[in-house]
Assembly symmetry: D2
Homo-oligomer: 337 residues x 4
């Protein structure tokens, strides 16, 4: 940790600060500059709140040297983590394809779509039983009945289930019935929910918040991991920007960045990023070429009558096209799909 003090700082104030720091068993090295004095602290600085240091009027600046994450940090865990989902490895050579409707709309409906995405090449089934909607007047999901529909679809197709958990009180239901627990973008910093899924050993698909930095996202993974669950899969779904032609701006640079800084798998959700089915194929192929470990894509066989997000849902035949093209790209970059 680097602390920069103003030259105008009173000597006694500087002394008080340094004594305070030395009391915490930190080694301090001073660098005397022309306009500032800089102090480098070595030791367990993780316990120091840099914002408390900034509360001191003599402090000009505080900079951390080390990253604030440990368990997710590749520096301390050089090998890739591969998350096992019912025997399907996420984070390995195979690019994992997750597909299905935005919301579960009924048993017959989700079973039919599950069959279609399976045939098109999907590895897992997605579907929302509990839906976070901006409006209280919009369809809020089928709830427990939706989970039952997903189970029926899994029975029929064998596809593991990915579904979003919005509230701790449904955790048991998810642990029992769902194969990957999705934490949605709006809940990325719902820390109680993160801790709760951290106390299970279910794979967790951790979506990036709409306005969260990559560092905050890794820290959300750290919340889950610090409770004992190492099975975290990152999922980028676009961030909020000023652009109006897309719902969100898909940030594919997260792929090489997360690969360098963490050891966890990263999959991409082009559907929510774009908000427009016409952009999904292009962004999906880009994600594969960029090194993504998987794709989660909304597929519906009647988007015009979908209960939610029809505008961004692909029809099964278009999804099959996308899978075929993605497979060709996967092959030339040394992966499978």
């Amino acid at each position: 940790m680097i602390i920069t003090l103003k030259k105008t700082a009173d000597a006694s104030e500087v002394k008080a600060l340094l004594e305070d720091l030395e009391g915490r068993s930190l080694q301090i090295t001073q660098i005397v500059g022309e306009n500032y004095d800089v102090f480098g602290l070595v030791g367990d600085t993780a316990s120091i709140d840099e914002r408390s240091l900034l509360a001191n009027p003599i402090v000009y600046n505080v900079q951390r040297v080390a990253q604030p994450y440990k368990l997710a940090n590749r520096m301390f865990h050089p090998e890739d983590t591969i998350v096992d989902v019912c025997g399907i490895p996420v984070g390995g050579r195979k690019i994992v394809m997750i597909a299905g409707p935005c919301a579960v709309e009924g048993k017959e409906n989700v079973c039919r779509i599950a069959g279609e995405v399976l045939e098109a090449g999907a590895d897992m089934l997605r579907g929302g039983a509990y839906k976070p909607r901006t409006s209280p007047y919009a369809f809020q999901g089928m709830g427990t009945e939706g989970i039952e529909c997903l189970k029926a679809a899994k029975d029929k197709t064998g596809l593991p289930i990915v579904s979003e958990l919005m509230s701790i009180d449904k955790l048991d239901e998810f642990v029992e019935n769902v194969d990957v627990i999705q934490i949605g973008a709006r809940n990325m910093q719902n820390f109680d929910l993160l801790k709760a899924v951290g106390r299970t050993n279910k794979p967790v698909l951790l979506k990036r918040g709409l306005a969260n930095t990559i560092e905050e996202w890794i820290m959300a993974a750290e919340y889950i991991m610090s409770e004992g669950n190492p099975n975290v899969i990152f999922c980028e779904r676009g961030i909020r920007t000023f652009e109006k032609y897309t719902r969100n701006t898909l940030d594919l640079s997260v792929i090489p960045i997360l690969k360098e800084r963490t050891h966890l798998p990263i999959i991409i959700d082009p559907s929510h990023a774009a908000g427009d089915y016409r952009l999904v194929e292009s962004l999906s192929l880009a994600a594969i070429a960029a090194g993504a470990d998987g794709l989660i894509i909304e597929v519906h066989d009647d988007p015009i009558h979908a209960a939610s997000d029809g505008a961004q849902s692909l029809k099964p035949d278009k999804y099959a096209d996308l899978v075929a093209k993605g497979r060709a790209i996967a092959k030339v970059i040394g992966r499978t799909l």
Copy 2:
């Protein structure tokens, strides 16, 4: 609702769309343009998912005319809502001052600070017992013990308590002990939590999410109100932008906008917006001049040793200065403080 179709749309597809809409008892008016055909829909369009319409390839664009919020909408509720907090009206002529430490650190500590802010002119006490922290390794709050400390401070000073609820399972504790339930920025779209506080009749301080539009924020209020609780107080605390010299960018334009579009009170949190105690007074006075109904400000008598957010905490004497200056401005704009 206005639907714009491409001129290239097939006649039978247009017919199918229109029949679908007419089946929902909507009146449709057509406007034939040069490059597009426009259809205006009148009737109960609230139930139509515009994103399902956009799923139709012949649809070029869908625009809503009316706002998506009803209960919070000033159009249907022209008078200002005044929220009563233990006899203190929020949203009236008096500008309400809420102050206290970021986190509750102990009984003696919070009681002392409560006394100081009372003397400086505060109307209510803020203090976090449950703390949403970016890092799992940072101080997470005292929990139930913290709530007890706040109650002790209320007993001593008479100041009503404002504190943040992070999880539904603590709702009963908050309903019993806290006077204003704060929903934090990170939980603004934690819809289950919004519904839960909507089922109480406690005043709710609803912070704006870091990257949420004003419309989404009003829709979050609508979630609370649609469950039966009309006592919503908006709280702006800065939004996330590219700027690095501040923690967030305080958006004071929300004050006249919310006053025009809704009937609910709006208070400003300059501490979290700025993230720097040196900016708090300037932004506080600005908020009062802009028409805010109140201010929530972090005050600590030893910021250097505060458990969190010392960098943005004012000392009690600085807070007293701010109150005095704010009072002078309140007076010239016809309000009290």
Copy 3:
């Protein structure tokens, strides 16, 4: 154009507005809603300033139906535009590779790097002679001498030259010596400069501004085209967001969006977007898979001693790797490189 009026509007005020509009030979269709009255205008609405309409207190909202761009609009020009650069088609089946140093540092230097990128597979040479730098104390470019160095490199390698024009007074120098005039991100809305290059027939590489919407970007192309120059090539180089691990956020969704809305080529600059050489390959391959018509990449054989942007420059051997991988992806998507 759709104008929405408040129901509270006075009848005489509505009459005055409608008479004003009818005086402009517009056909008006009224749609009577419950809370609003909506008027659809058909005719030449391009001349109407929607912000003047919004100045009228009875107007609640104004929405344009048609896009504001004409010459760049694919609706009126369905075929792809292919821009010819010294015989190299930009926007065709072949993906065009542009490479070279950020800044021209000397004749020997740029000639050597030009030879290296040619060998690695580049089609054109980039290099800045005039440099837009945030600080007046940073290297500002070699100016005219830099242009001479680029010409020498072209003489040696045959690679056409792409270089940034910052000021109208250098236009003649660029028209005479440079093959593609680059308009940098900071000048995307320097309208006088756009008009000036619009009066030449040189190919123009139009970078997206750091905080410009796609619509504003297309309108900047429209400025160039409306002066008579149809040879516009879009170049995405990342937009400004809250994220701190990258210099900018590369927005690859622009590729399918521009392909749908305009007929102009689009190339991607991953170097400036990422600001970090370690991200360039991943983003480049993503851009190719997404359908980009080309890539402009910073290459330097001694990045540690580069005059600018060393942090984002690839070494020639890494660039050659990237080209080989890009070629393999191009092939499977039916293009060449």
Copy 4:
């Protein structure tokens, strides 16, 4: 400057880097950490390009201690700069009021509005003769004739003229006829234009770019000052964010920040920030309370028929109201208006 190296760095590479730095007469202090080695550099680090250092694979991070600006820096110029505009001090106790139409529309028109704003309490007249418009099909301003109109209005009212310069080739016209040269938001990083106005001694109103950080903005001032012109006035006009209810988000925190970091005056433009006349008064009073040195506000006596930006223009009587309210606030904070 603080350089952090990875522990995995090869000893010979570290040695090469340090020798390179020592060759520049820098004193280097090493701090040995657990996972990183940190080096503090003292001396003239301004000439070091931190992005060249980052090009070195052994470098993990580079952080500057000192600000990159010198001439604008309050550290080296503690007293407030007061810019004289025809005898009117900008940056002193008096808050300066600038008002007028967005665009000059004719002699009679601007003279009449000038008379109205003078009567309402304005100190200077604003008006655009050259207009930066997003669309090439929108009104582009009257040009030289517009400047003549402004001169006529000055002759009539005595109000100094503030007008936007878009291109260097009009500089002489502006130096001769205009009292404050405005650099618009879109040209904030048009460095050639900044240098050009820096070579005059005219007061320059430097608007913040839509997506520029405060640091970049100060660096733009530094460009002007480094050419010899110390008469720079900052002007905040809102930044681009995701919010859609306002045209831009006004960032009032710039006022205390610029006051602390620089010695230059700062005025606020609420009209362009809000884009809506209904928000202007509220934001103006906020700016005064926050400590702004002036306000620049669009006023038009017939906004519905204004050539541009009618939606954000106040009528003269509303402007007079605003001035009166602003004066009352100015008084209680110890200033005049």
